[in-house]
Amino acid sequence: MSARPLLFRNARLLDPASNLDRRGDLLIEDGKIAALDPKIAAHDAESVECAGACLAPGLVDMRVELREPGAEHQESMNSGGLAAVAGGVTTLVMLPTTDPVIDDIALVEFVARRSRDVGLARIRTYAAATKGLKGRELTEMGLLAAAGAVAFTDAGRAIADATVMRRALSYARTFDLLVMQHPEEPSLAAGGMMNEGEVATRLGLAGITPAAEIIMVERDLRLVEATGGRLHIAHVSTEAAIDAIRRAKARGLPVTCDTAPHYFALNETAVGDYRTFAKVSPPLRSEWDRRAVVAGLKDGTIDAIASDHAPHDQESKRLPFASAASGIIGLETLLPLTLELYHNGHLSLLEALGAVTQRPADILGLPAGRLAVGAAADLVLFDLERPWRIDVDAFRSKSKNAPYDGRPVQGRVLRTLVAGRSVFSSEG
């Protein structure tokens, strides 16, 4: 079973956790990182000449929708896994928005088994915070966590009832579990299709006020204060919410948050003439909000970047805007879009990588996202500078709903390894 050791030579070794950025070699033995040094002599190892390409921890995508079980024609574990490794993602955490909803230990075990069977990226799962994502009764958080659920969330549905949210945070704290919330007050967002403002007004589309986000965030921060429960706020998109989280962190509240690439790479004008590929929840916001997201990433208020991969087939998107499904796929664009933050001078390379590796792993308590001796050899080798254009048709994902087609980006995955095994190579 134990394969020949593998030696990556002359790589630019990048480890956000230890602030490592230097030229060197990395040796893999038995699926683990065995050594990490400027020069490693390992004569029995198969050697890969990296010629200065970046070798970093594989990406940890902390929020992905797969459609297995339930709608495998949109994304199966296999197609999602292929998309993940093509994007340099070695661990992904899927949302419980499957059919049936992942609110039962049997389904958590199903995900673990399918992940092993597929054998691409490591697929972990959140469990629903409330049964059936209905926002009323808590799930068996303790048992679900023991079965492998990473944290608890009702995904794209905010837990609207304040008492239910209070109990979720409070009960989760009993077992030191994390609750992740979609930051949107549903009664304010009801009927809305895009960000409220000039663009929505011109298009005659019902707007979603940015206040829907800050109101839910402020409420939840109060509940965190009251319960001491750990809260992760998903995909923050507004300046006001980021400010509130910044202040909450300064007060020492156990709160973290992330954003998705579309909230710093696009703004509401991407909707253009009713482009349903730019319909997403929360909606793409104003340019001011987009800049606030970049600033939040810069000062560390926003801890992580998740793709929010939400696959939808053509039939769900080739509709009038109001009827079209919400969501953007992102597994295969997470790395290059995150690297835009580096190439544009907003983040250092290690900061940018940290937001998609070590930091999401730490938030979720996953043993991933690090280049360290003894750690699993989940790695991505990429060319930091190589320019290319996003080609949606070339995606491995079964769905193609991304508003980035033709976008010029820099940074290309060359090779992806999971437990030392090559699961993707750009040479095919």
Partner: protein, 321 residues
């Protein structure tokens, strides 16, 4: 795309909205409409310009007036007009839209006139068909022929559009008529105001080039034109405004509020009116002040002009593909 009469240059295959049209293009449509106003007052109203052309009125939303107006326009130009009403509730709307577009395009119509309850739906449909498409109203987005007929009415009554002060009053939030009129009036150099309670105004409406008022007396002060909008029944009782009584008290057009406008100010309404809700019945029927019936007459002429201009852009050979 350039087949046809070069003297009329309307460089668009479809009429999906007012936004994006130039002053010259709007003037061209209005000039053309005026010739049809005359024709429609003759005993013989019929022409053969559209002889052999097939026009389909495709309505996903109930409408008697607009559909009839388009139907008359098509028939008076000698075209064959058929009406299709698709009940939006019967099947999933989107499937109906694309499926219907595919089916209809196979029947080789020359013009599709489409009304749909969702913003952007007509544009989406226009991308799937080979013929010309006229937007007869999409959601809260645009209703271009309504804005054109309003402009024609104003031009006939006031002689010009440039420099006029126009107040659009009522449910701006949900109104495609308001959006098309705001666009057209701005393009043609009129000054536009909107007057409404804050709950019936969309966000950042001022960015569309309007002055915003929440008080009729101030909003109507010195205006040349008052356009009243219809308030849908489901929005009258506590959701957007508390009651009909309160709405009429503050925002319904009666003689007292009208006194703030210019003495010769013209009153318009896209119909159908809610008498006693947004407009007092006597004001609506005041033949000196109200242009409401004339708007309906202009509607047929404007729609004839649109059919005329767009069909000239069609290839006379078999439709592409």
């Amino acid at each position: 795309m350039t087949v046809g009469m070069p003297s009329l240059s309307f460089p668009h295959r479809h009429l999906l909205g007012i936004e994006g049209l130039s002053p010259d293009e709007i003037t061209l449509l209005l000039d053309r409409s005026e010739t049809y106003v005359e024709q429609n007052r003759q005993v013989d109203k019929k022409q053969s310009l559209l002889r052999g052309r097939t026009i389909i009125n495709l309505f996903f939303e109930n409408s008697t007036r607009t559909r009839t107006s388009f139907e008359l326009a098509g028939k008076r130009l000698g075209g064959d007009v058929i009406n299709m009403s698709v009940q939006a509730s019967s099947i999933k709307k989107g499937e109906t839209l694309i499926d219907t577009a595919m089916t209809l395009t196979a029947m080789r119509p020359d013009v599709l006139i489409v009304r749909h309850p969702e913003s952007g739906a007509v544009q989406l449909l226009s991308q799937k068909v080979d013929c010309a498409v006229i937007n007869a109203g999409d959601g809260s987005h645009e209703h271009p022929t309504q804005a054109l007929l309003d402009a024609l009415t104003i031009r006939l009554r006031k002689g010009h559009l440039q420099g006029l002060a126009v107040a659009i009053c009522g449910d701006i939030l949900h109104s495609r008529v308001a959006r098309s009129n705001i666009a057209l009036l701005n393009i043609m150099g009129a000054r536009v105001r909107v007057v409404a309670p804050r709950t019936l105004l969309p966000a950042e409406i001022e960015r569309l080039g309007v002055e915003v008022f929440h008080d009729m007396a101030r909003g109507l002060r010195g205006v040349d034109i008052i356009m009243m909008l219809r308030l849908q029944t489901e929005r009258m009782h506590g959701s957007f405004v508390p009651s009909i009584r309160e709405y009429f008290h503050f925002f319904g057009l009666d003689y007292a509020k009208l006194a703030a406008a210019k003495p010769d100010a013209l009153i318009m309404h896209p119909g159908p009116m809610n008498r006693g809700v947004e407009i007092d019945t006597e004001v609506a029927d005041d033949i000196d002040r109200s242009a409401i019936r004339q708007q309906v007459e202009m509607g047929v002429a404007v729609r004839m002009a649109c059919l005329d201009v767009l069909t000239r852009n069609l290839s006379n050979a078999a439709p592409a593909k």
